[in-house]
C-alpha cells in the first residue's frame, strides 16, 4: 500500500508543480499578469478574457482542485498524527478563498486579485509540504 500511495503522491506533486508553470504561461501567477488576463493591457496589446472563457476556466479549476485536494488530504490524514487538522483546514480554506476570489475579482473588484494570488501560493505551498511530509512518513513505516 505504501508504494501505491507514494506513486500517487508523486503524481499529485507533478500536477501541482506543473499547474504553477502552466498558470504562469497562461492565466498568470502575479497580480499584474492576472490583471492583464482578466481586464486586458493596452500597452502590451492583450485583450481581456471573455466571460465565457473565464467561466469555463473557473468551472474546470474548481473540479480539478477539489479532486486533487480531497485525495491529498485523504492520504495525509492517513499518515499524519499531529497538526493534520490544522494543515487540512489551512489547505482547504486557502484553496476555497482562492477559487471564490477569482469571480469576485472578475465581477466586483480588482482588489480580489491580490487575495487570489496570495491564497493560490499558500495552498500550493501547504499542498507541497503535505506531500513531502506524507512521503517522509510513508518511508518511515510501511502502511
Amino acid at each position: 500500500m505504501s508504494l501505491i500511495l507514494k506513486g500517487f503522491l508523486f503524481f499529485i506533486l507533478l500536477y501541482i508543480l506543473s499547474d504553477i508553470f502552466v498558470m504562469k504561461s497562461s492565466f498568470g501567477i502575479s497580480a499584474e499578469a492576472v490583471n492583464s488576463t482578466l481586464f486586458g493591457n493596452e500597452e502590451a496589446y492583450i485583450d481581456p478574457i471573455n466571460e465565457s472563457s473565464f467561466l469555463e476556466f473557473w468551472h474546470t479549476q474548481i473540479f480539478f482542485i477539489m479532486m486533487i485536494l480531497l485525495t491529498l488530504s485523504a492520504v495525509f490524514i492517513r499518515v499524519a498524527k499531529r497538526s493534520r487538522a490544522i494543515l487540512t483546514n489551512a489547505l482547504m480554506i486557502t484553496a476555497l478563498v482562492s477559487l471564490i476570489s477569482l469571480p469576485l475579482a472578475f465581477y466586483i473588484s480588482k482588489f480580489f486579485i491580490d487575495i487570489y494570488v496570495i491564497t493560490y501560493f499558500i495552498w500550493h505551498l501547504v499542498a507541497i509540504y503535505m506531500i513531502f511530509y506524507s512521503f517522509w512518513k510513508l518511508n518511515a513505516r510501511s502502511i
Binding site: S52, L55, H59, M66, L70, S73, R84, M92
Partner: protein, 148 residues
C-alpha cells in the same frame, strides 16, 4: 469515522457547492434557462448569428463530462458509506436517480440536434434535477456528519 476525515468530506461538500454555482453561471451565460435559449444554442439561429452545434462539437463537450459526472457522483455517493443513512432503503433509489439524471443531462443535446425539440425541456429539467439531487445529497451528508 475519524474527525479529520469528516473535515475532508465537509470541505468536499463546500467545493461541490462552488462547482454548482459555477455550473449555473456557465449554463446561464452560454445557454440560458429558457426553452428557446436551449433550442437556439443547439440548433442555431440565423437571425441572431448563432451557429448550430454539430455532433462532433457536442461530443467534444460531452466527453469530459461523462467521466467527470461519473467520478463526481461516485465520490459524493461513496461518502454515504461512512454515515448512518446508508441503512435507509430509499438511498438506493437516490443512487439510481442521480446516475440516471446525469446520463439524461449529458445525452439530451444529441436528441435536440436530432430534431426532437421537446428534449430542450428535458435538458433544462435534468440540469436542475441533477443540481437539486446533489444539493439534497450534500445536505444529507452534512447533516449526518455534523449531528450524528
Amino acid at each position: 469515522m475519524q474527525e479529520a476525515y469528516k473535515l475532508s468530506i465537509l470541505y468536499y461538500l463546500a467545493f461541490s457547492l462552488l462547482l454548482i454555482v459555477s455550473a449555473i453561471m456557465l449554463f446561464e451565460h452560454k445557454i440560458g434557462f429558457s426553452f428557446s435559449g436551449v433550442l437556439e444554442y443547439y440548433t442555431g439561429n440565423e437571425e441572431k448569428f448563432i451557429p448550430a452545434q454539430s455532433v462532433a462539437g457536442i461530443l467534444k463537450i460531452v466527453l469530459p463530462h461523462i467521466f467527470v459526472f461519473g467520478l463526481f457522483a461516485m465520490v459524493l455517493l461513496h461518502f454515504l458509506v461512512f454515515t448512518n443513512i446508508k441503512y435507509k432503503k430509499n438511498i438506493i433509489i437516490l443512487v439510481y436517480t442521480i446516475f440516471a439524471i446525469a446520463l439524461l443531462e449529458i445525452f439530451t443535446p444529441f436528441m435536440i440536434i436530432g430534431g426532437f425539440k421537446f428534449f430542450a425541456y428535458v435538458k433544462l429539467f435534468s440540469f436542475f434535477a441533477l443540481l437539486a439531487l446533489v444539493l439534497y445529497l450534500s445536505w444529507l451528508l452534512f447533516h449526518s456528519i455534523a449531528y450524528d
